[in-house]
Amino acid sequence: MTALVAADLLKLRRRRGLWLTALLLPAVLMTVIFLLSATEVIETDGGHTFVKDGAAALAFLGPILAVLIGARVGSDEHAAGTLRYQLLTGVPRERLYLSKLAALAVACLLLTLTGAAAVLVFGIVLPPAPGDGLEAMDVVDAVWNPLLPTFAYGAIAFGVGSLMRSTGPAIAVALVLNLVGLDMLTLLVLIDDWFRHLVLDVGIDRLTLNAIDDPEDRVSVVAGAIITILWTGGFVLAGWLRLRRLEV
């Protein structure tokens, strides 16, 4: 399995434009904010506030980058026509599918870690407001808060890629789902407050920002986990079912 994941990561790494963008863009964004702050073009304190805001920025940017990667990983073998050559080795389809999902997880982790590292370094370098220094939980939040949505939307895009078997359309659909599509369900809250349980971002926010007092995120932790797993798992499962039945 390790060899399969390494092979899938090799395919990704050789797409240098996508790979470097995904790894460096979060860090570059944070560097720009830091430089603007250090040269006093903008006023930003370091410490806890900087890390919290930086993690929020990563939680917006990370999923977009993960969509590009996930849709690519999910559809690549179909689009390249190489899936049949993988299948005729007799390797079970579930292993092929899971290795790609694992490669996506590694990619999401790496892009989150580079961004989070920049956020933390600049959060330490920039002087904090009084009483706003960094705490241990800030380090956890800087990684976890962007990582969860990044992987969740990456996995959804992966499922979409496997379903659609064409990279461009898969990216388009997954981006629409990421930016507006899944949040459209929030409109159902106008009918009944319970419908917030259908909104992926409500589940993710509950598991990351931990904002239990926020009326927008008023669901339990368990409900948050279920919402997140169901949405993410649903798309991954749909992609798997498509692959399982596919004749190539």
């Binding site: 395919k11 690549d76 390249a80 026509g81 049949r84 050559y85 993988q86 080795t89 007799g90 190539v248």
Partner: protein, 308 residues
């Protein structure tokens, strides 16, 4: 008696109303080069996909080395390498990287065999070039290199000479015959290039509209055409009249020569020459007619068409 490596029984595949593969029985002997001949759209690629478990048969079964492909694909395909339809790769990876990616799927130390595989197909020195810059011929070679990584006892190659120039085809023939004669591998080829198949194959199956209409060794397939002589004379009309006989069918060829079907023995040829010369007909040439695979194939498939 040769051991059967691929055995298909009653193999059928339908796409809606259309039957692409129609109750095909196939026996491919181990250690031979087996040709699967048919026009485009005859069902060759679909049959190959069924043999490799890439598509599910509606009826029938396939075994490779005695193992059912549908039941246990991992075991059945362990020593099988293939090119299906066309060799496809990740264009953004180099040839070598594409093989590394494939080697990760194989058991054993397939990665260590990459340099030898590239060398074998004449891509040594081009392995570090990106595949998107490869010609079709180079992709075909790389496809064979990929197929060789698993040390296959059986190679299934679908239209492998597509995109190759004359020199490439000659090299490819040498490569394939080497697999069979020196290494004892079995090669299953599909093609519509009958001339190439005649040069390469030990046995053939003819496919027409999804059905195998004949399967035999190339030698016996050609021998079934029967005896014939080609006759070049100065007066074909007179020769025709002189040679009229219930056992001889005389066919006018395009270039003015005659083909005498039903005769071909040495003594028969001598008697024909004597009769013609005795009656004042000049004989320019007489020789035994050796039918090509293409002629046999066309005669068979036209006969099949007429029958249906």
């Amino acid at each position: 008696m040769a051991v059967t490596l691929i055995e298909a029984r009653g193999l059928t595949k339908r796409f809606g109303e259309r039957t692409a593969v129609d109750h095909v029985d196939l026996d491919v002997p181990a250690g031979s080069c087996f040709g699967f001949l048919g026009p485009n759209g005859a069902g060759k690629t679909t049959l190959i996909r069924l043999l490799l478990g890439l598509a599910h048969a509606d009826e029938g079964r396939v075994t490779i080395g005695g193992v059912d492909v549908a039941q246990d694909p991992r075991t059945a395909l362990r020593r099988v390498g293939a090119i299906v339809e066309e060799p496809r790769f990740h264009g953004h990876l180099t040839g070598k990287e594409n093989l590394e990616v494939h080697a990760a799927l194989l058991e054993g130390d397939a990665r260590a065999r990459i340099p030898a595989a590239l060398d074998r197909v004449g891509l040594h020195g081009r392995g570090d070039d990106k595949v998107k810059g490869y010609s079709m011929g180079m992709r075909q070679r790389l496809g064979v290199a990929r197929a060789l990584l698993g040390e296959p006892t059986l190679l299934i190659l679908d239209e492998p000479t597509n995109g190759l120039d004359a020199e490439g085809m000659a090299e490819f023939r040498t490569l394939i015959r080497g697999f069979v004669e020196r290494e004892g591998r079995t090669v299953f080829l599909s093609s519509h290039l009958l001339d190439e198949m005649e040069k390469l194959c030990d046995a053939v199956a003819i496919v027409e509209q999804g059905r195998v209409v004949q399967q035999s060794t190339v030698t016996s397939f050609l021998a079934e055409a029967g005896l014939a002589l080609i006759l070049d004379v100065d007066d074909p009309a007179r020769a025709r009249a002189l040679l009229a006989h219930p056992d001889i069918t005389i066919v006018d060829l395009d270039d003015g020569r005659l083909r005498l079907d039903g005769v071909g023995e040495r003594e028969q040829a001598a008697a024909i020459v004597k009769r013609l010369v005795d009656h004042g007909v000049g004989v320019v040439e007489i020789r035994r007619h050796a039918p090509t695979l293409e002629q046999r194939y066309l005669s068979l498939t036209r006969h099949e068409e007429a029958a249906t």
